[in-house]
């Protein structure tokens, strides 16, 4: 069954960025340049945090604006990116209303969540979870 990453309760988020670091560590490096997830305060940490990551849209707007067809629909929602076809135009970044497409400034390429679930093991408070996608009618 296809799965997707889901933010289950953002009010539990403590802003630790453990998930952000985990995502870049998928490739065995430190830092955050390859992270597809971002955590920022919503106007001062006393107000809480927002967790920004791909929502696994079933009809993703980013696909429609990619001029080279580098983005393909992913089973279960979201997209799969073919980096070889990416021409670094940034259209996809602008098309996502959640601003959930990140930018790797080192390779100058978009970074998009693959819904692998690696980050969930490191979230100490159960804010993010991998969920089964219920097939829609």
């Amino acid at each position: 069954m296809a799965k997707r990453l889901s933010v289950v309760d953002v009010d539990l988020c403590v802003g630790c960025m453990m998930c952000v670091f985990a995502c870049s560590r998928r490739f065995g490096d430190g830092g955050v340049s390859k992270s597809a997830i971002k955590v920022a305060s919503i106007g001062g940490i006393e107000r809480g945090f927002k967790v920004i990551v791909c929502r696994a849209c079933l009809d993703p707007p980013c696909i429609h604006v990619c001029p080279t067809g580098a983005l393909k629909r992913r089973e279960g929602g979201g997209v799969v990116i073919d980096l070889a076809r990416c021409i670094e135009c940034g259209n996809c970044v602008a098309a996502c209303p959640y601003r959930a497409i990140m930018w790797d400034e080192e390779t100058n390429r978009p970074v998009i969540c693959t819904h692998c679930g690696y980050c969930t093991r490191y979230c100490p408070y159960g804010v993010i979870k991998l969920e089964e996608v219920v097939p829609s009618v």
Partner: protein
């Protein structure tokens, strides 16, 4: 170290010429790791002998280490400078997002020197460094407002740190702090005043680099091992649940909780200020530093009605920790959580170090009770235990310094006592106000002998507590303090949060270094720790620190500890033994320490 790691890049910023440049200092990082080790070397290189801490010749170093941005709980930045409070070595550590921001902007350390003519703020976004006119921000009443303004106009959201000073820093109160990302601080020894003297209102840093790791597979393995240890260990559980405020009740029970200027070591209202009670009534949110799963930062929500408007309330979030609870709470005889939170909010708004401020106010209260100062000096304020309104007023006056008395108090408790009397109950160690543990001789020796006069230098309070019911020997305690302070130099060079010390044992540190292509053994680490410790002491001796002039406030001998009354003879024997050991080691190491 791995040559693709940007750690060895040091960013130099000259506030006088408004120039900046980067130098590769692999030499320093390879020998001294980072953090504390690299910072003391950089400070020594840049600062002239006998520098005026509030003159343009003072230098601010902010250093991170190889573990920041790489391993969990490596969440601190070390600031090194000359302290205007002690006129000697200044070192303070802050968390928040500071270390991750500096490191992922692509630097191991930042050196700030000179002084600006007009108020400015600096932003460092990766390679881009810019200077901004901060005249419009100078004089703004609250550090919260400055934070809000910068949050709006600066970039790097989510990957940045916003450090700023408040009115206290601008007015160069010698114990002004630098507020970091709201609720975290470079608290101790007056870095805020140094910022103020340089007309540096704020420093914004952001970055989102990757940190290339040499051996990726073993990196992930070691990471998981450390992560699991952090999540599974009782050592971090304590910070996790009630936060450091958990210490209030046990210390009270032990009779080690300084109360009313340490006239007593137990407080009848301790329960009201305890971690348990604060969590039950006020805890509104918990937050974490970047790359730390513990979330020890506890924010109390203080809800207050407006007097003039019916059904208008304001809710203020105030961070509380053990040390501020002691200093602004038990030391002042504060009886309720709400009053405590109001005082803590005031020091946050003005950008003062809560610990020094509380101790200063406690001295002021006792001096007032004894008639050494009167309402003439205090400008009508009648400081009295538990009366938080009088303390709120006094805090404001310390910041604004409208008369000689408040100017003196803004120079520190020790200075004020040298003018107005009451040195016997001025709780300072080499000019720095005392931390919140009256556990026995270990704690007080640690405050006096530790390189930054902090309870965190060598945790003498922890030694005292382990030794309750047993006899403490001079050799035993001196040995412990030296060993502990040296190992901590390694931890703060990496730069780890000291709450992670139970997880990062020497063995684990060695293992964690390996994937970074950094071959170092446990013995090497111990040697490096010793060298850094001696370097710091050497700096202090060169700047006039003198073991023979060490003064213990008389009060600490008068109030019993869990080890009974501390004996002055025990303390002076211990100081002499410490001095002898250090001077012997300095002689041996002298040739390798120069340069």
């Amino acid at each position: 170290m791995y040559n693709r790691d940007p750690l060895s890049r040091v960013l130099y910023i000259d506030l006088t010429s408004k120039k900046h440049w980067v130098e590769d200092r692999k030499d320093l990082f390879e020998e001294y790791i980072g953090g504390t080790g690299v910072a003391i070397k950089l400070l020594r290189e840049e600062i002239p002998r006998g520098a005026d801490p509030l003159g343009p010749e003072n230098v601010i170093v902010m250093a991170t280490g190889p573990f920041n941005g790489v391993y969990p709980m490596a969440s601190k930045t070390v600031a090194m400078f000359k302290s205007p409070l002690t006129n000697n070595l200044g070192e303070s550590h802050a968390g928040g997002r500071s270390s991750v921001a500096v490191r992922l902007a692509g630097y191991g350390a930042i050196v700030i020197k000179g002084a600006s003519e007009i108020p400015i703020w600096i932003s460092v976004h990766g390679d881009k460094v810019s200077f901004h006119d901060a005249r419009a921000l100078w004089g703004v009443r609250s550090t919260h407002t400055v934070g809000r303004v910068l949050r709006e106009i600066e970039t790097g959201h989510g990957f940045r740190t916003i450090m700023r000073i408040g009115r206290a820093g601008e007015r160069m109160v010698r114990y002004a702090c630098v507020v970091v990302d709201t609720f975290r601080h470079f608290g101790r020894l007056g870095l805020g005043a140094v910022f103020g003297s340089k007309k540096l209102k704020a420093l914004v840093i952001s970055g989102k680099r990757g940190i290339p790791i040499a051996d990726k597979a073993s990196y992930r393995k070691v990471y998981d091992k450390i992560y699991d240890a952090i999540m599974g260990t009782p050592a971090t559980k304590k910070y996790h649940e009630l936060g450091t405020a958990e210490n209030v009740l046990p210390l009270n029970e032990l009779g080690a909780l300084p109360t009313k200027n340490l006239q007593k070591a137990q407080f009848e209202y301790a329960l009201e200020l305890s971690g348990e009670k604060l969590a039950e009534v006020y805890l509104g949110r918990r937050v974490s530093c970047a790359h730390c799963p513990v979330a020890c930062i506890h924010l109390g929500a203080l809800r207050e009605p407006y007097k003039a408007e019916a059904y208008f309330y304001k809710t203020t979030f105030v961070s509380y920790d053990y040390e501020p609870i002691y200093a602004m709470g038990t030391m002042l005889g504060i009886k309720s959580g709400a009053h405590l939170l109001k005082l803590l909010d005031a020091v946050e708004v003005y950008g003062l170090d809560a610990m020094s401020t509380g101790v200063a106010l406690a001295w002021m209260t006792e001096a007032f009770e004894r008639g050494m100062i009167t309402e003439k000096e205090t400008m009508g304020v009648r400081p009295s235990w538990g009366e938080y309104v009088s303390y709120l007023k006094a805090i404001e006056l310390i910041v604004e310094q409208p008369n000689e008395f408040y100017s003196a108090l803004a120079k520190g408790t020790e200075y004020a006592a040298s003018v107005y009397g009451g040195r016997d109950f001025a709780l300072t160690f080499c000019g720095n106000e005392m931390p919140g543990y009256h556990t026995g001789p270990g704690a007080h020796l640690g405050y006096a002998l530790g390189a930054r006069h902090s309870h965190l230098d060598s945790a003498g309070y922890s030694y005292d507590q382990k030794m309750v019911g047993k006899e403490i020997s001079v050799e035993g305690v001196v040995d412990y303090l030296i060993q502990e302070e040296r190992w901590r130099q390694v931890l703060t060079s990496l730069v780890l949060c000291l709450f992670a010390r139970g997880v990062y044992t020497p063995q684990v540190v060695v293992e964690a270094f390996k994937p970074l292509k950094w071959e170092v053994g446990e013995n090497d680490l111990k040697e490096i720790g010793k060298k850094i410790h001696l370097l710091k002491i050497k700096y202090k001796l060169d700047e006039g620190f003198d073991y023979s002039k060490l003064r213990f406030p008389k009060r600490i001998f008068e109030t019993p500890t869990p080890h009974g009354n501390i004996s002055p003879e025990f303390m002076s024997t211990a100081v002499e033994l410490y001095r002898a050991r250090i001077s012997e080691e300095l002689k041996q190491l002298e040739p390798t320490l120069s340069g």
